[in-house]
């Protein structure tokens, strides 16, 4: 059978709007469809060993708590006491399989590359826009490039993390909610203007 054509979660969903008073949009967003994601859950009593193995296999330090670590193209986010969202930017497909193999039997790994849809957000008003949906203190004193959080955004479950001081954030949402998230984003950014960047 012919190859199945992939379709990006945000395809056709992000719509730019001009800043009402001209100038640069206060929020610029881009989708990250080429990201691979996997959830790794430590098996009982194997946390420490897992951290060691992960570092060997990928160079990633296993974050303690809701934090973010990176190594090369890899990122790990703490999403729960025993669970991590591990991501790889634009590598070979099969991250979950590779992790499962490398981490076996210390972790249960499941592929989530299609489970989540990821947006990158930046711009002068990115914190103002996020504040409209997310009840987290995103002030630099409270949240920074080392932080990650699983939380709600306007009734949607999201995972949020910051990647630089610009600030640039990334936001992951379950794929089926992509349309609702895009709508919320459009309305919340309208007063600042929304730019949509190519990936």
């Amino acid at each position: 059978m012919a190859d199945l054509a992939p379709r990006a979660a945000f395809a056709g969903l992000l719509h730019a709007s001009a800043p009402p008073e001209g100038g640069i949009p206060g929020l610029v967003v881009s989708a990250r469809p080429e990201r691979q994601l996997a959830i790794a859950i430590a098996r009982k009593g194997k946390r420490a060993e897992l951290a060691q193995r992960l570092r060997q296999a990928t160079g990633l330090a296993l974050p303690e708590g809701p934090h973010r670590t990176t190594a090369g193209r890899m990122t790990a986010l703490g999403t729960g006491p025993r669970s991590w969202l591990v991501m790889e930017e634009g590598g070979e497909p099969g991250l979950a399989d590779r992790l499962a193999e490398a981490l076996s039997p210390l972790a249960a790994v499941s592929d989530q590359s299609d489970g989540y849809a990821v947006l990158r957000l930046t711009g002068a008003h990115v914190r103002d826009v996020l504040a409209k949906g997310i009840a987290l203190d995103l002030h630099p004193r409270a949240f920074g490039p080392g932080s990650a959080a699983v939380t709600n955004c306007a009734h949607l479950g999201v995972t949020l993390w910051q990647i630089d001081e610009a600030p640039t954030f990334e936001l992951a949402v379950f794929r089926s909610y992509a349309g609702s998230l895009a709508h919320w984003l459009g309305e919340s950014a309208a007063e600042f203007g929304l730019g949509v960047a190519a990936e």
């Binding site: 708590g65 809701p66 999403t79 729960g80 006491p81 009840a135 959080a149 699983v150 939380t151 709600n152």
Partner: protein, 93 residues
């Protein structure tokens, strides 16, 4: 109300769901009198006006079940722990 999840930190109560009395222990189904014990376990709850040990689930966050002690008159939390880290009897008054 804000609940300080031991993993996620302080979060709005809207991220959590609630399951009441956190002192209960599931009875041994094989023990004699299991029917009565299960009746008490399933239906009878601590419901004090004051210090209350209770279960919460961080559904909108790390998906941890939490065992918290909270004052039902003021809503003030005294402690919040992961359910896996806390044993009901330790906290029961």
């Amino acid at each position: 109300m804000r609940i300080t999840c031991p993993y996620c930190g302080p979060r709005d109560v809207a991220e959590f769901t609630y399951l009441g009395d956190g002192t209960l222990r599931r009875p041994d189904p094989a023990a004699p009198g299991a029917a009565a014990a299960f009746h008490d376990y399933v239906y009878l709850r601590d419901n004090p006006a004051g210090r209350h040990t209770e279960l919460w689930y961080h559904a909108g966050g790390c998906r941890s079940w939490l065992r918290a002690v909270r004052d039902t008159r003021t809503h003030a939390f005294e402690s919040v722990a992961l359910a896996t880290d806390s044993v009901p009897s330790e906290q029961a008054q």
